[in-house]
Protein backbone atom coordinates (compact mmCIF):
# COMPACT_ATOMS: atom_id res chain seq x y z
CA UNK A 1 0.00 0.00 0.00
CA UNK A 2 2.74 2.40 1.02
CA UNK A 3 4.58 1.49 -2.16
CA UNK A 4 1.62 2.35 -4.33
CA UNK A 5 1.26 5.66 -2.53
CA UNK A 6 4.91 6.43 -3.13
CA UNK A 7 4.57 5.54 -6.78
CA UNK A 8 1.55 7.81 -7.17
CA UNK A 9 3.37 10.67 -5.49
CA UNK A 10 6.21 10.42 -7.98
CA UNK A 11 3.83 10.44 -10.95
CA UNK A 12 3.62 13.56 -13.10
CA UNK A 13 0.31 15.48 -13.06
CA UNK A 14 -0.63 14.19 -16.51
CA UNK A 15 -0.37 10.57 -15.35
CA UNK A 16 -2.40 11.30 -12.20
CA UNK A 17 -5.03 12.93 -14.35
CA UNK A 18 -5.06 9.86 -16.60
CA UNK A 19 -5.39 7.48 -13.65
CA UNK A 20 -8.26 9.52 -12.20
CA UNK A 21 -10.06 9.50 -15.56
CA UNK A 22 -9.67 5.75 -15.99
CA UNK A 23 -10.89 5.08 -12.43
CA UNK A 24 -13.93 7.31 -12.96
CA UNK A 25 -14.84 5.57 -16.21
CA UNK A 26 -14.52 2.12 -14.65
CA UNK A 27 -16.75 3.13 -11.75
CA UNK A 28 -19.37 4.60 -14.07
CA UNK A 29 -19.28 1.51 -16.27
CA UNK A 30 -19.71 -0.86 -13.30
CA UNK A 31 -22.38 1.08 -11.42
CA UNK A 32 -24.12 2.41 -14.55
CA UNK A 33 -27.60 1.04 -13.90
CA UNK A 34 -27.63 2.52 -10.36
CA UNK A 35 -26.75 5.99 -11.63
CA UNK A 36 -29.18 6.28 -14.48
CA UNK A 37 -32.62 7.78 -14.03
CA UNK A 38 -34.13 5.84 -16.99
CA UNK A 39 -33.69 2.59 -18.94
CA UNK A 40 -31.07 2.19 -21.67
CA UNK A 41 -33.36 2.56 -24.67
CA UNK A 42 -36.46 3.81 -22.93
CA UNK A 43 -38.21 6.64 -24.77
CA UNK A 44 -38.99 9.20 -22.11
CA UNK A 45 -39.64 12.50 -23.85
CA UNK A 46 -39.98 14.15 -27.21
CA UNK A 47 -37.09 14.38 -29.67
CA UNK A 48 -34.14 16.67 -29.06
CA UNK A 49 -35.35 18.20 -25.80
CA UNK A 50 -33.09 20.87 -24.37
CA UNK A 51 -30.95 20.53 -21.28
CA UNK A 52 -33.00 21.12 -18.19
CA UNK A 53 -35.11 19.58 -15.49
CA UNK A 54 -35.97 15.93 -15.96
CA UNK A 55 -33.36 15.50 -18.65
CA UNK A 56 -30.08 16.91 -17.43
CA UNK A 57 -28.49 16.70 -20.86
CA UNK A 58 -31.67 16.72 -22.92
CA UNK A 59 -32.93 13.89 -25.10
CA UNK A 60 -31.64 12.37 -28.31
CA UNK A 61 -33.10 11.96 -31.79
CA UNK A 62 -35.67 9.40 -30.58
CA UNK A 63 -36.47 11.06 -27.28
CA UNK A 64 -34.23 8.93 -25.09
CA UNK A 65 -32.46 10.49 -22.13
CA UNK A 66 -28.97 11.59 -23.17
CA UNK A 67 -27.33 11.20 -19.75
CA UNK A 68 -28.69 7.66 -19.37
CA UNK A 69 -27.37 6.67 -22.76
CA UNK A 70 -24.01 8.25 -22.07
CA UNK A 71 -23.67 6.17 -18.90
CA UNK A 72 -24.78 2.96 -20.59
CA UNK A 73 -22.50 3.85 -23.46
CA UNK A 74 -19.57 3.65 -21.05
CA UNK A 75 -20.45 0.03 -20.35
CA UNK A 76 -20.99 -0.99 -23.95
CA UNK A 77 -18.27 0.92 -25.74
CA UNK A 78 -15.52 0.39 -23.18
CA UNK A 79 -16.60 -3.19 -22.48
CA UNK A 80 -16.54 -4.21 -26.13
CA UNK A 81 -13.22 -2.45 -26.77
CA UNK A 82 -11.71 -4.10 -23.69
CA UNK A 83 -12.84 -7.59 -24.66
CA UNK A 84 -11.56 -7.04 -28.20
CA UNK A 85 -8.15 -5.89 -26.98
CA UNK A 86 -7.86 -8.87 -24.62
CA UNK A 87 -8.72 -11.24 -27.44
CA UNK A 88 -6.24 -9.54 -29.78
CA UNK A 89 -3.53 -9.92 -27.14
CA UNK A 90 -4.42 -13.53 -26.55
CA UNK A 91 -4.17 -14.35 -30.27
CA UNK A 92 -1.27 -12.08 -31.17
CA UNK A 93 0.68 -12.67 -27.97
CA UNK A 94 0.44 -16.45 -28.02
CA UNK A 95 1.27 -16.67 -31.73
CA UNK A 96 4.12 -14.16 -31.41
CA UNK A 97 5.73 -16.03 -28.51
CA UNK A 98 5.13 -19.36 -30.21
CA UNK A 99 6.78 -18.07 -33.39
CA UNK A 100 10.01 -17.18 -31.59
CA UNK A 101 10.03 -20.25 -29.34
CA UNK A 102 9.43 -22.69 -32.16
CA UNK A 103 11.45 -20.76 -34.74
CA UNK A 104 12.04 -22.19 -38.20
CA UNK A 105 9.16 -22.60 -40.60
CA UNK A 106 6.44 -21.77 -38.06
CA UNK A 107 8.08 -18.38 -37.53
CA UNK A 108 8.47 -17.81 -41.27
CA UNK A 109 4.90 -18.79 -42.06
CA UNK A 110 3.33 -16.62 -39.38
CA UNK A 111 5.65 -13.74 -40.20
CA UNK A 112 4.78 -13.69 -43.90
CA UNK A 113 1.07 -14.07 -43.15
CA UNK A 114 1.15 -11.08 -40.80
CA UNK A 115 3.16 -9.06 -43.34
CA UNK A 116 0.45 -9.50 -45.94
CA UNK A 117 -2.37 -8.78 -43.51
CA UNK A 118 -0.61 -5.62 -42.34
CA UNK A 119 -0.18 -4.40 -45.91
CA UNK A 120 -3.90 -3.66 -46.03
CA UNK A 121 -5.05 -0.68 -43.95
CA UNK A 122 -7.02 -2.03 -41.00
CA UNK A 123 -10.11 0.13 -41.60
CA UNK A 124 -10.34 -0.94 -45.22
CA UNK A 125 -9.89 -4.59 -44.30
CA UNK A 126 -12.51 -4.39 -41.58
CA UNK A 127 -15.01 -2.72 -43.91
CA UNK A 128 -14.42 -5.44 -46.51
CA UNK A 129 -15.07 -8.23 -44.03
CA UNK A 130 -18.05 -6.52 -42.40
CA UNK A 131 -19.69 -6.17 -45.83
CA UNK A 132 -19.84 -9.91 -46.03
CA UNK A 133 -20.40 -10.92 -42.44
CA UNK A 134 -22.76 -8.14 -41.44
CA UNK A 135 -22.34 -6.26 -38.18
CA UNK A 136 -23.20 -8.03 -34.96
CA UNK A 137 -21.25 -7.50 -31.78
CA UNK A 138 -19.51 -10.94 -31.65
CA UNK A 139 -18.49 -10.65 -35.32
CA UNK A 140 -17.24 -7.12 -34.71
CA UNK A 141 -15.15 -8.23 -31.74
CA UNK A 142 -13.71 -11.20 -33.60
CA UNK A 143 -12.87 -9.30 -36.79
CA UNK A 144 -11.19 -6.39 -35.05
CA UNK A 145 -9.36 -8.68 -32.62
CA UNK A 146 -7.93 -10.78 -35.44
CA UNK A 147 -6.88 -7.72 -37.47
CA UNK A 148 -5.40 -6.02 -34.43
CA UNK A 149 -3.59 -9.15 -33.27
CA UNK A 150 -1.18 -8.72 -36.21
CA UNK A 151 0.25 -5.63 -34.48
CA UNK A 152 0.49 -7.47 -31.17
CA UNK A 153 2.17 -10.38 -32.93
CA UNK A 154 4.85 -8.09 -34.32
CA UNK A 155 5.64 -6.61 -30.93
CA UNK A 156 5.48 -9.90 -29.01
CA UNK A 157 7.76 -11.46 -31.58
CA UNK A 158 10.35 -8.68 -31.62
CA UNK A 159 10.44 -8.47 -27.81
CA UNK A 160 10.74 -12.20 -27.25
CA UNK A 161 13.32 -12.50 -30.03
CA UNK A 162 15.92 -11.06 -27.67
CA UNK A 163 14.80 -13.14 -24.71
CA UNK A 164 14.62 -16.51 -26.40
CA UNK A 165 18.37 -16.58 -27.06
CA UNK A 166 19.30 -15.95 -23.42
CA UNK A 167 20.95 -18.60 -21.29
CA UNK A 168 18.09 -19.27 -18.89
CA UNK A 169 15.81 -20.19 -21.79
CA UNK A 170 18.48 -22.50 -23.09
CA UNK A 171 18.79 -24.03 -19.63
CA UNK A 172 15.05 -24.60 -19.46
CA UNK A 173 15.14 -26.27 -22.84
CA UNK A 174 17.95 -28.57 -21.75
CA UNK A 175 16.00 -29.45 -18.61
CA UNK A 176 13.38 -30.71 -21.04
CA UNK A 177 10.63 -28.22 -20.27
CA UNK A 178 7.76 -28.06 -22.76
CA UNK A 179 7.13 -25.17 -25.14
CA UNK A 180 4.19 -23.89 -23.10
CA UNK A 181 6.23 -23.87 -19.89
CA UNK A 182 9.02 -21.95 -21.58
CA UNK A 183 6.62 -19.40 -22.98
CA UNK A 184 4.68 -18.74 -19.80
CA UNK A 185 7.41 -19.16 -17.18
CA UNK A 186 10.58 -18.01 -18.89
CA UNK A 187 9.75 -15.61 -21.70
CA UNK A 188 6.49 -13.95 -20.73
CA UNK A 189 7.61 -12.50 -17.37
CA UNK A 190 10.54 -10.82 -19.10
CA UNK A 191 8.46 -9.52 -21.99
CA UNK A 192 5.82 -8.00 -19.73
CA UNK A 193 6.59 -4.24 -19.54
CA UNK A 194 6.48 -3.50 -23.29
CA UNK A 195 3.43 -5.70 -23.66
CA UNK A 196 1.58 -3.92 -20.86
CA UNK A 197 2.33 -0.53 -22.40
CA UNK A 198 1.26 -1.85 -25.76
CA UNK A 199 -1.98 -3.07 -24.21
CA UNK A 200 -2.82 0.49 -23.26
CA UNK A 201 -2.02 1.80 -26.73
CA UNK A 202 -3.85 -1.02 -28.49
CA UNK A 203 -6.86 -0.45 -26.26
CA UNK A 204 -6.92 3.20 -27.33
CA UNK A 205 -6.64 2.20 -30.95
CA UNK A 206 -9.38 -0.43 -30.75
CA UNK A 207 -11.61 1.90 -28.77
CA UNK A 208 -11.22 4.69 -31.34
CA UNK A 209 -11.58 2.20 -34.15
CA UNK A 210 -14.86 0.73 -32.87
CA UNK A 211 -16.17 4.24 -32.22
CA UNK A 212 -15.29 5.24 -35.77
CA UNK A 213 -17.03 2.17 -37.17
CA UNK A 214 -20.10 2.87 -35.05
CA UNK A 215 -19.98 6.48 -36.15
CA UNK A 216 -20.03 5.28 -39.75
CA UNK A 217 -23.08 3.18 -38.86
CA UNK A 218 -21.16 -0.05 -39.37
CA UNK A 219 -20.22 -0.90 -35.80
CA UNK A 220 -22.35 -1.40 -32.71
CA UNK A 221 -25.96 -1.29 -33.86
CA UNK A 222 -28.96 0.44 -32.25
CA UNK A 223 -30.70 0.28 -29.82
CA UNK A 224 -27.51 -0.48 -27.87
CA UNK A 225 -26.22 2.78 -26.42
CA UNK A 226 -22.79 3.47 -27.84
CA UNK A 227 -20.81 6.68 -28.03
CA UNK A 228 -19.84 6.50 -31.68
CA UNK A 229 -23.36 5.99 -32.96
CA UNK A 230 -24.71 8.57 -30.50
CA UNK A 231 -22.55 11.19 -32.20
CA UNK A 232 -23.86 10.09 -35.57
CA UNK A 233 -27.52 10.10 -34.48
CA UNK A 234 -27.40 13.57 -32.96
CA UNK A 235 -24.92 15.22 -35.30
CA UNK A 236 -27.57 17.50 -36.82
CA UNK A 237 -27.75 19.45 -33.55
CA UNK A 238 -24.26 20.80 -34.22
CA UNK A 239 -25.55 23.00 -37.01
CA UNK A 240 -27.74 24.78 -34.44
CA UNK A 241 -24.74 25.42 -32.23
CA UNK A 242 -25.86 22.78 -29.67
CA UNK A 243 -22.90 20.95 -28.16
CA UNK A 244 -24.80 17.81 -27.08
CA UNK A 245 -23.35 15.58 -29.86
CA UNK A 246 -19.88 16.56 -28.71
CA UNK A 247 -20.48 14.95 -25.29
CA UNK A 248 -20.16 11.30 -26.37
CA UNK A 249 -17.29 12.22 -28.68
CA UNK A 250 -15.64 14.06 -25.82
CA UNK A 251 -16.19 11.06 -23.55
CA UNK A 252 -14.27 8.93 -26.05
CA UNK A 253 -11.51 11.50 -26.36
CA UNK A 254 -11.12 11.97 -22.59
CA UNK A 255 -10.64 8.25 -21.94
CA UNK A 256 -8.06 7.81 -24.70
CA UNK A 257 -6.20 10.90 -23.52
CA UNK A 258 -6.18 9.46 -20.00
CA UNK A 259 -4.91 6.05 -21.09
CA UNK A 260 -2.26 7.64 -23.32
CA UNK A 261 -0.96 9.79 -20.46
CA UNK A 262 -0.68 6.77 -18.18
CA UNK A 263 1.05 4.70 -20.86
CA UNK A 264 3.47 7.55 -21.56
CA UNK A 265 4.41 7.68 -17.88
CA UNK A 266 4.68 3.90 -17.68
CA UNK A 267 7.03 3.83 -20.66
CA UNK A 268 9.21 6.49 -19.09
CA UNK A 269 9.38 4.48 -15.89
CA UNK A 270 10.07 1.05 -17.35
CA UNK A 271 12.60 2.12 -19.95
CA UNK A 272 14.87 5.05 -19.47
CA UNK A 273 15.81 4.96 -23.12
CA UNK A 274 12.38 5.57 -24.53
CA UNK A 275 12.52 9.32 -24.40
CA UNK A 276 10.90 10.01 -27.70
CA UNK A 277 8.39 8.51 -30.11
Amino acid sequence: MAQIWKLLKSAPPTALFGLAVIAAYILVAIFGPLLTPYGESEIVGSQFELWGEGFVLGTDNLGRDMLTRLIYGARNTIGIAFVTTCLAFLIGGVLGLLATTLGGWADQLLGRLVDVLMAIPILIFALLILTITGTSVPVLILVIAVLDSTRVFRLARSVSMNIVVLDFVEAARLRGEGTWWIITREILPNAMPPLVAEFGLRFCFVFLFISALSFLGLGIQPPTADWGSMVRDNATLITYGDITPLLPAGAIALLTVGVNFVVDWFLHKTSGIRDDK
Binding site: V116, A119, I120, L127, L246, A249, I252, D276
Partner: protein, 318 residues
Protein backbone atom coordinates in the same frame (compact mmCIF):
# COMPACT_ATOMS: atom_id res chain seq x y z
CA UNK B 1 25.58 1.63 -57.52
CA UNK B 2 24.77 -1.93 -58.50
CA UNK B 3 23.99 -2.71 -54.89
CA UNK B 4 21.42 0.07 -54.66
CA UNK B 5 19.82 -1.02 -57.89
CA UNK B 6 19.56 -4.54 -56.59
CA UNK B 7 17.99 -3.45 -53.30
CA UNK B 8 15.49 -1.20 -55.06
CA UNK B 9 14.52 -3.91 -57.52
CA UNK B 10 14.07 -6.35 -54.65
CA UNK B 11 11.79 -3.95 -52.80
CA UNK B 12 9.76 -3.23 -55.92
CA UNK B 13 9.35 -6.92 -56.68
CA UNK B 14 8.28 -7.61 -53.12
CA UNK B 15 5.86 -4.66 -53.25
CA UNK B 16 4.18 -5.88 -56.40
CA UNK B 17 3.98 -9.39 -55.01
CA UNK B 18 2.22 -7.97 -51.94
CA UNK B 19 -0.12 -6.05 -54.19
CA UNK B 20 -0.98 -9.22 -56.05
CA UNK B 21 -1.61 -11.19 -52.86
CA UNK B 22 -3.71 -8.35 -51.45
CA UNK B 23 -5.84 -8.22 -54.59
CA UNK B 24 -6.38 -11.94 -54.15
CA UNK B 25 -7.39 -11.50 -50.51
CA UNK B 26 -9.81 -8.73 -51.43
CA UNK B 27 -11.38 -10.83 -54.14
CA UNK B 28 -11.38 -14.19 -52.41
CA UNK B 29 -12.11 -12.94 -48.90
CA UNK B 30 -15.72 -12.94 -50.00
CA UNK B 31 -15.31 -16.59 -50.86
CA UNK B 32 -13.59 -17.91 -47.78
CA UNK B 33 -15.99 -16.50 -45.27
CA UNK B 34 -18.77 -18.78 -44.12
CA UNK B 35 -22.25 -18.45 -45.58
CA UNK B 36 -23.53 -18.05 -49.09
CA UNK B 37 -23.39 -14.42 -49.95
CA UNK B 38 -26.05 -14.61 -52.66
CA UNK B 39 -28.40 -16.04 -50.04
CA UNK B 40 -27.37 -13.35 -47.57
CA UNK B 41 -28.12 -10.53 -49.98
CA UNK B 42 -31.44 -11.88 -51.20
CA UNK B 43 -32.56 -12.69 -47.65
CA UNK B 44 -33.89 -15.87 -46.08
CA UNK B 45 -37.18 -15.74 -47.98
CA UNK B 46 -35.57 -16.15 -51.43
CA UNK B 47 -36.40 -19.39 -53.21
CA UNK B 48 -33.53 -21.70 -54.23
CA UNK B 49 -34.27 -20.85 -57.89
CA UNK B 50 -33.79 -17.10 -57.38
CA UNK B 51 -30.60 -17.72 -55.45
CA UNK B 52 -29.30 -19.98 -58.23
CA UNK B 53 -30.22 -17.39 -60.89
CA UNK B 54 -28.52 -14.64 -58.88
CA UNK B 55 -25.41 -16.74 -58.46
CA UNK B 56 -25.30 -17.35 -62.20
CA UNK B 57 -25.73 -13.65 -62.89
CA UNK B 58 -22.79 -12.83 -60.64
CA UNK B 59 -20.80 -15.66 -62.16
CA UNK B 60 -20.58 -17.37 -58.76
CA UNK B 61 -21.10 -20.75 -60.38
CA UNK B 62 -17.71 -20.53 -62.11
CA UNK B 63 -14.56 -21.73 -60.32
CA UNK B 64 -12.83 -19.05 -58.26
CA UNK B 65 -9.63 -18.82 -60.29
CA UNK B 66 -11.53 -18.14 -63.52
CA UNK B 67 -13.45 -15.34 -61.83
CA UNK B 68 -10.39 -13.95 -60.11
CA UNK B 69 -8.36 -13.63 -63.29
CA UNK B 70 -11.39 -12.24 -65.17
CA UNK B 71 -11.75 -9.64 -62.46
CA UNK B 72 -8.05 -8.85 -62.29
CA UNK B 73 -7.88 -8.57 -66.09
CA UNK B 74 -10.77 -6.11 -66.00
CA UNK B 75 -9.25 -4.11 -63.15
CA UNK B 76 -6.01 -3.65 -65.05
CA UNK B 77 -8.01 -2.20 -67.92
CA UNK B 78 -10.04 0.02 -65.61
CA UNK B 79 -13.15 -2.17 -65.63
CA UNK B 80 -14.30 -3.05 -62.12
CA UNK B 81 -17.57 -4.73 -63.06
CA UNK B 82 -21.08 -3.55 -62.31
CA UNK B 83 -22.52 -2.29 -59.04
CA UNK B 84 -25.13 -4.60 -57.50
CA UNK B 85 -27.21 -1.75 -56.13
CA UNK B 86 -27.34 0.71 -59.01
CA UNK B 87 -26.39 -1.57 -61.92
CA UNK B 88 -23.96 1.08 -63.14
CA UNK B 89 -20.35 0.50 -64.04
CA UNK B 90 -18.24 0.68 -60.91
CA UNK B 91 -15.59 2.68 -62.75
CA UNK B 92 -18.19 5.39 -63.49
CA UNK B 93 -19.09 5.61 -59.80
CA UNK B 94 -15.46 5.74 -58.72
CA UNK B 95 -13.81 8.04 -61.30
CA UNK B 96 -14.77 11.53 -60.11
CA UNK B 97 -14.84 10.51 -56.45
CA UNK B 98 -11.29 9.25 -56.56
CA UNK B 99 -10.16 12.64 -57.88
CA UNK B 100 -12.06 14.40 -55.08
CA UNK B 101 -10.45 12.19 -52.46
CA UNK B 102 -6.98 12.76 -53.88
CA UNK B 103 -7.64 16.51 -53.97
CA UNK B 104 -8.67 16.52 -50.30
CA UNK B 105 -5.63 14.47 -49.33
CA UNK B 106 -3.37 16.81 -51.32
CA UNK B 107 -4.73 19.94 -49.63
CA UNK B 108 -4.35 18.30 -46.21
CA UNK B 109 -0.79 17.29 -47.04
CA UNK B 110 0.07 20.79 -48.31
CA UNK B 111 -0.95 22.23 -44.94
CA UNK B 112 0.26 19.52 -42.59
CA UNK B 113 3.71 18.67 -43.95
CA UNK B 114 5.32 22.13 -43.50
CA UNK B 115 3.62 22.68 -40.14
CA UNK B 116 4.75 19.30 -38.81
CA UNK B 117 8.31 19.76 -40.06
CA UNK B 118 8.71 23.19 -38.47
CA UNK B 119 7.16 22.16 -35.16
CA UNK B 120 9.20 18.94 -35.11
CA UNK B 121 12.50 20.72 -35.67
CA UNK B 122 11.65 23.38 -33.08
CA UNK B 123 10.64 20.76 -30.51
CA UNK B 124 13.91 18.92 -31.10
CA UNK B 125 15.97 22.10 -30.76
CA UNK B 126 14.25 23.29 -27.61
CA UNK B 127 14.09 19.82 -26.16
CA UNK B 128 12.78 19.39 -22.61
CA UNK B 129 11.79 23.04 -22.38
CA UNK B 130 8.28 24.23 -21.67
CA UNK B 131 7.73 24.58 -25.42
CA UNK B 132 8.65 20.95 -26.01
CA UNK B 133 6.48 19.73 -23.15
CA UNK B 134 3.50 21.73 -24.33
CA UNK B 135 3.87 20.29 -27.80
CA UNK B 136 4.23 16.80 -26.34
CA UNK B 137 0.99 17.11 -24.37
CA UNK B 138 -0.73 18.64 -27.37
CA UNK B 139 0.31 15.82 -29.69
CA UNK B 140 -0.59 13.09 -27.19
CA UNK B 141 -4.00 14.69 -26.88
CA UNK B 142 -4.62 15.04 -30.58
CA UNK B 143 -3.57 11.43 -31.23
CA UNK B 144 -6.22 10.40 -28.72
CA UNK B 145 -9.08 12.31 -30.29
CA UNK B 146 -11.44 10.49 -32.61
CA UNK B 147 -11.43 12.09 -36.08
CA UNK B 148 -15.09 12.97 -35.90
CA UNK B 149 -14.63 14.77 -32.57
CA UNK B 150 -12.02 17.07 -34.11
CA UNK B 151 -14.25 17.52 -37.14
CA UNK B 152 -17.33 18.52 -35.13
CA UNK B 153 -15.38 20.90 -32.92
CA UNK B 154 -14.11 22.63 -36.07
CA UNK B 155 -17.63 22.71 -37.48
CA UNK B 156 -19.00 24.13 -34.25
CA UNK B 157 -16.54 26.99 -34.13
CA UNK B 158 -15.54 27.75 -37.71
CA UNK B 159 -18.79 26.95 -39.47
CA UNK B 160 -21.61 27.48 -36.98
CA UNK B 161 -20.44 30.06 -34.46
CA UNK B 162 -18.26 32.22 -36.67
CA UNK B 163 -19.57 31.14 -40.04
CA UNK B 164 -16.24 31.36 -41.87
CA UNK B 165 -16.26 28.07 -43.75
CA UNK B 166 -19.06 25.84 -45.04
CA UNK B 167 -19.87 22.87 -42.77
CA UNK B 168 -20.78 20.67 -45.72
CA UNK B 169 -18.22 20.29 -48.46
CA UNK B 170 -20.40 19.77 -51.50
CA UNK B 171 -18.22 20.18 -54.54
CA UNK B 172 -18.85 19.75 -58.22
CA UNK B 173 -16.44 19.71 -61.11
CA UNK B 174 -17.46 23.15 -62.42
CA UNK B 175 -16.07 24.97 -59.37
CA UNK B 176 -12.90 26.99 -59.77
CA UNK B 177 -9.72 25.80 -58.06
CA UNK B 178 -9.84 28.25 -55.14
CA UNK B 179 -13.54 27.74 -54.57
CA UNK B 180 -12.80 24.02 -54.42
CA UNK B 181 -10.01 24.61 -51.89
CA UNK B 182 -12.32 26.85 -49.84
CA UNK B 183 -14.96 24.16 -49.61
CA UNK B 184 -12.59 21.40 -48.55
CA UNK B 185 -10.72 23.53 -46.04
CA UNK B 186 -12.53 22.18 -42.97
CA UNK B 187 -12.05 18.49 -43.78
CA UNK B 188 -8.45 19.27 -44.73
CA UNK B 189 -7.89 21.03 -41.39
CA UNK B 190 -9.37 18.06 -39.55
CA UNK B 191 -7.01 15.67 -41.30
CA UNK B 192 -4.13 18.03 -40.63
CA UNK B 193 -4.81 18.08 -36.90
CA UNK B 194 -5.02 14.29 -36.89
CA UNK B 195 -1.72 13.61 -38.67
CA UNK B 196 0.45 16.55 -37.65
CA UNK B 197 0.99 14.96 -34.25
CA UNK B 198 2.39 11.72 -35.70
CA UNK B 199 4.57 13.51 -38.21
CA UNK B 200 6.07 15.99 -35.82
CA UNK B 201 6.80 13.39 -33.14
CA UNK B 202 8.65 11.31 -35.68
CA UNK B 203 10.53 14.34 -37.05
CA UNK B 204 11.49 15.34 -33.52
CA UNK B 205 12.80 11.85 -32.80
CA UNK B 206 14.79 11.78 -36.05
CA UNK B 207 16.46 15.14 -35.36
CA UNK B 208 17.21 14.33 -31.72
CA UNK B 209 18.84 11.08 -32.79
CA UNK B 210 21.01 13.01 -35.17
CA UNK B 211 21.93 15.82 -32.81
CA UNK B 212 23.42 13.21 -30.48
CA UNK B 213 25.96 12.08 -33.10
CA UNK B 214 29.67 12.98 -32.69
CA UNK B 215 30.02 15.11 -35.82
CA UNK B 216 27.35 17.49 -34.59
CA UNK B 217 29.14 17.74 -31.27
CA UNK B 218 32.32 18.52 -33.20
CA UNK B 219 30.53 21.29 -35.09
CA UNK B 220 29.27 22.70 -31.81
CA UNK B 221 32.76 22.60 -30.28
CA UNK B 222 34.04 24.50 -33.28
CA UNK B 223 31.57 27.23 -32.31
CA UNK B 224 29.31 27.12 -35.34
CA UNK B 225 25.98 28.83 -34.76
CA UNK B 226 23.01 26.72 -33.85
CA UNK B 227 20.97 27.56 -36.91
CA UNK B 228 23.88 26.72 -39.21
CA UNK B 229 24.39 23.36 -37.51
CA UNK B 230 20.77 22.48 -38.06
CA UNK B 231 20.51 23.66 -41.66
CA UNK B 232 23.95 22.64 -42.94
CA UNK B 233 24.93 19.68 -40.80
CA UNK B 234 21.86 18.01 -39.38
CA UNK B 235 19.17 18.47 -42.02
CA UNK B 236 20.91 16.83 -45.00
CA UNK B 237 21.36 13.66 -42.99
CA UNK B 238 17.92 13.84 -41.42
CA UNK B 239 16.34 14.05 -44.85
CA UNK B 240 16.01 10.31 -45.31
CA UNK B 241 14.06 9.64 -42.11
CA UNK B 242 11.98 12.76 -42.64
CA UNK B 243 11.00 11.84 -46.19
CA UNK B 244 10.09 8.45 -44.83
CA UNK B 245 7.89 10.03 -42.17
CA UNK B 246 6.12 12.20 -44.72
CA UNK B 247 5.36 9.40 -47.14
CA UNK B 248 4.16 7.04 -44.43
CA UNK B 249 1.84 9.72 -43.13
CA UNK B 250 0.52 10.39 -46.60
CA UNK B 251 -0.36 6.71 -46.73
CA UNK B 252 -2.08 7.16 -43.38
CA UNK B 253 -3.93 10.16 -44.80
CA UNK B 254 -5.37 8.16 -47.67
CA UNK B 255 -7.18 5.93 -45.20
CA UNK B 256 -7.96 8.72 -42.77
CA UNK B 257 -10.19 10.40 -45.32
CA UNK B 258 -12.95 7.81 -44.89
CA UNK B 259 -14.41 9.10 -41.61
CA UNK B 260 -13.78 12.75 -42.45
CA UNK B 261 -15.53 12.48 -45.80
CA UNK B 262 -18.60 11.09 -44.08
CA UNK B 263 -18.68 13.92 -41.53
CA UNK B 264 -18.47 16.62 -44.19
CA UNK B 265 -20.63 14.75 -46.72
CA UNK B 266 -17.76 15.12 -49.16
CA UNK B 267 -18.33 13.16 -52.40
CA UNK B 268 -15.14 11.10 -52.24
CA UNK B 269 -14.19 7.48 -52.45
CA UNK B 270 -14.37 6.96 -48.68
CA UNK B 271 -18.00 7.95 -48.54
CA UNK B 272 -18.76 5.67 -51.47
CA UNK B 273 -17.06 2.81 -49.66
CA UNK B 274 -19.05 3.34 -46.46
CA UNK B 275 -22.34 3.60 -48.37
CA UNK B 276 -21.55 0.47 -50.33
CA UNK B 277 -20.66 -1.49 -47.19
CA UNK B 278 -24.04 -0.54 -45.72
CA UNK B 279 -25.76 -1.65 -48.94
CA UNK B 280 -23.51 -4.73 -49.18
CA UNK B 281 -22.66 -3.79 -52.74
CA UNK B 282 -19.71 -6.18 -53.05
CA UNK B 283 -18.22 -5.11 -56.43
CA UNK B 284 -18.04 -1.46 -55.36
CA UNK B 285 -16.58 -2.40 -51.96
CA UNK B 286 -13.96 -4.60 -53.60
CA UNK B 287 -13.01 -1.91 -56.09
CA UNK B 288 -12.72 0.84 -53.46
CA UNK B 289 -10.84 -1.42 -51.06
CA UNK B 290 -8.42 -2.35 -53.82
CA UNK B 291 -7.80 1.30 -54.68
CA UNK B 292 -7.26 2.28 -51.04
CA UNK B 293 -5.05 -0.72 -50.35
CA UNK B 294 -3.05 -0.21 -53.54
CA UNK B 295 -2.44 3.47 -52.77
CA UNK B 296 -1.39 2.57 -49.25
CA UNK B 297 0.98 -0.17 -50.40
CA UNK B 298 2.47 1.94 -53.18
CA UNK B 299 3.10 4.88 -50.85
CA UNK B 300 4.77 2.61 -48.32
CA UNK B 301 6.82 1.14 -51.13
CA UNK B 302 7.83 4.65 -52.18
CA UNK B 303 8.93 5.35 -48.62
CA UNK B 304 11.04 2.18 -48.65
CA UNK B 305 12.68 3.00 -51.96
CA UNK B 306 13.28 6.66 -51.07
CA UNK B 307 14.91 5.70 -47.80
CA UNK B 308 17.32 3.47 -49.71
CA UNK B 309 18.00 6.13 -52.33
CA UNK B 310 18.65 8.94 -49.84
CA UNK B 311 20.87 6.91 -47.56
CA UNK B 312 24.31 8.57 -47.79
CA UNK B 313 26.08 5.38 -46.74
CA UNK B 314 24.65 3.49 -49.68
CA UNK B 315 25.15 6.34 -52.13
CA UNK B 316 28.87 6.66 -51.44
CA UNK B 317 30.18 3.16 -50.85
CA UNK B 318 33.77 2.84 -49.69
Amino acid sequence: MAKILKMVTQRLALGFLTLFVVSMIIFLGVELLPGDFAQEILGQSATPETVAAFRRELGLDLPWYTRYFDWLGGVVQGDFGKSLASRRDVSDLIGGRLLNTLFLAAVAAAISVPVAMILGVLAALYRNTLFDRTINVFTLTSISFPDFFVAYILILFLAVNWNIFPSISNVSSDLGFWEHVYRVILPALTLTLVIVAHMMRMTRAAIINLLASPYIEMAMLKGISRSRIVTHHALPNALAPIINVIVINLAFLVVGVVVVEVVFVYPGLGQLLVDSVAKRDIPVVQASCLIFAATYILLNLTADVLSILTNPRLLHPK
